[in-house]
């Protein structure tokens, strides 16, 4: 009896012991994880000055760097800049650029933020960083008058790509004038290494004069309230990342873009023509989506996109709300150099005419009649060239490209163009009424459609003079009278 009793007691004891052991093991297993995840408790060991960069560049990756006390010096500058050829605008900036300087941190950093409002500035400003956990994202603590400096600190708790912006009344106006940028919080150990990294941020602008109207353009509060944007651009101005300022990469490289959207109003359908994003950190957070064509970036939000470039060429960044790209400036370029890879992309293999119901020429909408100015004295060649260059950037550039080189197989070149130089009347006609069907330019066949352009005689004269007097063409001076002659 006794021994049986003893036995059962023994087994009960053993059972409890096992239970306790399991509990301890479980506890240690689970307690490991939260301890590592708790960013708040990460110790900082050194004090370093943050490297800030102007777009489209980003500071060096954090890599294996330990969490640190990171000093950020950010200066606010109100300054005049150029929105597009001949159009000036007063930008309010973080660090003298739109978007503002890129800030790169890692989880656990203690950021000591110095916000300096330049004495020449007219207005008070502040900063709301979406990476901050705290009231107003720092806005209240950083409210700073012209000629003053404010300091506040925060710890980066959550990895991700975050927008920062000014939040001083009227908030919409401060954002609309360019007061936004990106702050990256990398995870411990950093993001996986890539070959190229760039910083691109979309913004919408509201001006008194419509798109392209020259001169200093004031901000239009009414248009902003109505959400009628005149400009939708990457990096603060039309052409900020195209032509000579295009982003670059080499075939075989992996490219990472930190893309933000400052707004103030519009949501971006960010797309890279001719590429598929291998990875998208959706909304700049931790969720990774793969094989994405177009990613939605909310106003006041961001995304990290990654892709490998397999073939050379020019790839166009757009907001795929596509009229913004071709009519309001939301267009950028990534130029990829290197060897062709015909396995991935062949180029044109065959071309022939296909005209099932005859050709139809599309026309651009014509504004009110009689806007043709009367008795305007003929411009000098120099004046024509200046005006023509602006018109070219607004009207022709998207297809014929920045130096008139065109796009092989699609849009014929205007540079050293035998077709253009052979017959000025025929060329004027093409601009006036469009052109369709097969033509041969410099030995290459093109079979594409050019739309009829809604331009005045004077504008056509200017832009064509610009084209004829550049890129190795025959220097014809086209006059409004010559254009008028071609009108039917």
């Amino acid at each position: 009896m006794k021994s049986i009793n003893q036995l059962s007691k023994n087994s009960i004891f053993k059972f409890y012991l096992a239970l306790v052991l399991i509990l301890v093991v479980l506890l240690t297993l689970f307690s490991c994880k939260p301890e590592e995840a708790k960013a708040e408790d990460i110790r900082v060991e050194s004090k370093i000055q943050a490297q800030l960069t102007s777009p489209p560049f980003v500071p060096a990756p954090v890599g294996a760097r330990k969490a640190a006390n990171l000093v950020v010096d950010m200066e606010i500058i109100e300054m005049e800049g150029e929105m597009t050829g001949g159009v000036k605008y007063v930008y309010w900036t973080f660090g003298g650029t739109v978007p503002g300087s890129f800030i790169r941190t890692r989880v656990g950093d203690e950021v000591e933020f110095h916000l300096k409002n330049h004495p020449d500035n007219k207005l008070p400003h502040n900063i709301d960083l979406h990476a901050v956990t705290g009231p107003g994202g720092g806005a209240e603590s950083s409210f700073v008058a012209p000629g003053q400096e404010k300091v506040f600190s925060f710890k980066t708790l959550n990895p991700g790509l975050y927008v920062y912006h000014c939040a001083t009344a009227p908030v919409g106006m401060h954002i609309a004038n360019g007061m936004y940028g990106l702050i990256l919080v990398e995870p411990k150990g950093g993001l996986p290494p890539v070959d190229k990294e760039y910083y691109v941020m979309q913004g919408d602008f509201y001006t008194e004069g419509d798109y392209g109207k020259p001169g200093l353009q004031a901000f239009s509060m009414q248009k902003a309230i109505d959400e009628h944007a005149d400009y939708v651009v990457f990096n603060g101005a039309v052409g900020a990342i195209s032509g000579d300022n295009a982003l670059t990469a080499e075939v075989g490289e992996t490219v990472r873009l930190f893309v933000g959207n400052g707004g103030p109003n519009l949501v971006s359908s960010f797309h890279l023509i001719g590429e598929i994003f291998n990875k998208v950190y959706v909304e700049g957070g931790s969720m990774v989506n793969e094989n994405v064509q177009t990613t939605l970036i909310p106003a006041g939000g961001a995304a990290i996109v990654e892709f490998k470039v397999e073939v050379p060429g020019t790839f166009i960044l757009v907001d795929h709300s596509i009229f913004r790209a071709f009519n309001k400036g939301a267009l950028g370029m990534l130029k990829v150099g290197g060897d062709e890879n015909e396995k991935v992309y062949s180029g044109t293999q065959l071309e022939k005419t296909y005209l099932p119901e005859g050709s139809v020429i599309q026309a651009m909408p014509v504004a009110e009649k009689g806007k043709e100015p009367q008795n305007v004295p003929d411009k000098t060649l120099a004046e024509q060239l200046v005006h023509g260059k602006q018109l070219y950037a607004q009207t022709c550039f998207a297809c014929h490209q920045s130096a008139g080189q065109g796009i092989a197989g699609a849009f014929p070149p205007l540079a050293k163009s035998d077709y253009l130089n052979a017959d000025v009347g025929r060329s004027i006609n093409a601009v006036l009424y469009g052109l369709t069907g097969e033509i041969t330019v410099n030995g290459d066949k093109y079979n594409s459609v050019m739309t009829s352009q809604n331009l005045t005689d004077e504008e056509i004269a200017d832009v064509m003079t610009y084209v004829y007097n550049n890129w190795g063409n025959n220097k014809t001076k086209v006059t409004p009278a010559m254009v008028k002659e071609q009108r039917r």
């Binding site: 009231p135 107003g136 209240e140 950083s142 008058a145 908030v171 901000f219």
Partner: protein, 262 residues
């Protein structure tokens, strides 16, 4: 009896008129602003503010005028100022204590002056700084209306000034003369008011609807009043960001005086 009563009334009237005349003559360099009531910012629960008649300098105080003041009151000179009364940027753009330097116009508004200095200057002239309500009241006027705030063009003009850099370099009188005969309330420099910090804007403007229901119910206001509120909001935001010892490049002042105290 009736006659004597009439006489009394007449005498009183004559006395009153002469007083008025005397007053006008004495302060003819100041603009007379007839008082009234107005709502500082439109919104769901804004309150009416009453303003009594007052006199206001037609121009902001110039560098030349302030230089004269400094000559007469050396404790307010650039190098002599007590740290309590002005920060390091006090008269920063002046060459030295008693010299403006070549790049500073005598006729430009004096800026980089603290509230303490501005207040003292006015007191030495037998005047005072205008109150926030007085300043805003006078600044509602355009060339021909005492309250032009409902005009879209007027608000747009003010907003576009807020975006024009370096207007502090211009001379006083370079903007328009308003209904009351006052120049430069908009378009030149910000101006100190006696109680500039009476309305607190926390800097977190999206919260301010809570901190001051009377002034910042921006979300409650819609349509045509928005532009007007935006222009005013920027002034209030500016005032909310400053402290009395700050000396700012874009901030000057002018003086006022009670109409009755004459």
């Amino acid at each position: 009896m009736l006659n004597s009563k009439l006489n009394l009334v007449l005498l009183t009237a004559i006395w009153f008129l002469s007083q008025q005349f005397f007053a006008q003559e004495q302060k003819e360099d100041m603009a007379y602003v007839k008082g009234g009531s107005y709502i500082p910012l439109y919104g769901a629960d804004s309150v009416w503010v009453k303003v009594d008649d007052f006199l206001l300098d037609p121009y902001p105080v110039t560098n030349a005028e302030f230089l004269k003041f400094v000559h007469e009151n050396s404790e307010w000179k650039k190098s002599g100022i007590k740290k309590l009364f002005a920060d390091e940027r006090y008269l920063y753009n002046w060459k030295s204590d008693y010299s403006l330097g070549e790049n500073v116009s005598e006729k430009a508004p004096v800026t980089n002056v603290s509230w303490f200095a501005a207040k003292r200057f006015c007191e030495c002239q037998g005047k005072r700084l205008p109150t926030l309500d007085e300043w805003e009241y006078a600044a509602m006027a355009d060339e021909d209306t005492p309250d032009a705030r409902v005009k879209e063009s007027y608000n747009q003009k003010i907003l576009s000034w807020y975006e024009t850099p370096k207007t502090f370099e211009n001379n006083v009188g370079s903007t328009f003369k308003n209904y009351w005969g006052v120049y430069d309330l908009h378009g030149l420099v910000w101006e100190w008011t006696l109680d500039f910090n009476a309305v607190l804007l926390s800097g977190e403007s999206r919260n301010d609807s809570d901190t001051d229901r009377n002034l910042f119910c921006g979300s409650g206001s819609v349509g045509a009043t928005d532009l007007m509120n935006y222009a005013a909001l920027m002034r209030y935001a500016f005032r909310g960001s400053i402290k009395a010892r700050y000396s700012i490049k874009n901030l000057g002042f002018r003086c006022a005086r009670d109409a009755q105290s004459l």
